[in-house]
Symmetry: C2
Subunit: 156 residues, 2 copies
């Protein structure tokens, strides 16, 4: 074998390290894929959340995908500028904005979902479907330690 600059074994043996590397690769693959549609990860996540939850307030959206309200403002601004979502004042609560996906947003979402799935397939290309399921199950338990009932506000 050539003298590859191997990562030190000590570090490599740490779950957090491997987790970070794998996540970095996943992030890169997905980001590259979504870039084909001019989308970014958070934007896609938010758009998907809007499409799934229906008309929602920004605060609720932020809690659902776990991002800061500050960043949510920018994301919704972009999505609205691209005509992917509509932001209308909620008549029943004038503090809120009702975010809803548009027809164009639905179309874009369908494309970006395909791209995201494809990137994730590439990410897990070395795994069998069963192994992928296994990985997902293990990751879920590592990402959310408590998670017994799961009805609670899973805030991080």
């Amino acid at each position: 074998m050539a003298e590859t600059p191997y990562a030190p074994a000590r570090i490599r043996a740490l779950p957090s390290w491997l987790l970070g590397r794998a996540a970095a690769r996943g992030h890169r693959l997905v980001a590259e894929a979504l870039a084909e549609e001019g989308m970014r990860m958070m934007h896609h996540a938010v758009l998907s959340a809007v499409g799934e939850l229906g008309p929602v307030s920004q605060a609720e959206l932020g809690r659902s995908v776990g991002i800061d309200p500050k960043d949510m403002v920018a994301v919704v601004n972009d999505l609205q500028a691209d005509g992917l979502v509509t932001r209308t004042p909620d008549p029943r609560d004038r503090r809120k904005n009702a975010i809803e996906i548009s027809a164009a947003g639905e179309r874009t979402l369908r494309r970006t979902e395909k791209l995201g799935d494809r990137a994730n397939d590439e990410l897990t290309a070395g795994l069998t479907p069963a192994e992928r399921e296994q990985l997902m199950a293990l990751l879920a338990r590592v990402a959310e330690p408590g998670e017994a009932g799961a009805e609670q506000t899973g805030r991080e």
Copy 2:
């Protein structure tokens, strides 16, 4: 609050998403643990690499842990300022700096390794040792897909 802000199923079902969440938690736990010694993740990783590889150039270090040369400069600066490593010009190649761990570096490394291990134990507290090994094996295959040729080029 009946409405739980659960993450949309669409997004949650993606390995890249779960990977990111799990990595974020791991990162946070390890960072908090290392902060007890005033250390940060990259610093610890580099220090560990130096201790394992012996006298080594910064470029080689950067390749081994997969970080940018720019950031490596800052890391080595900090480590040197804390007296944890020595940076001496390589007489055989005056472009290179020979980075070597110091006695104080060894001591600090032993402590931070304990802290890192402890944080990783907490991270994987919900898993049995066998499951943890399983997770590591799966992650390794996801993080480094090719792995056969041991191709150079650092990363992507």
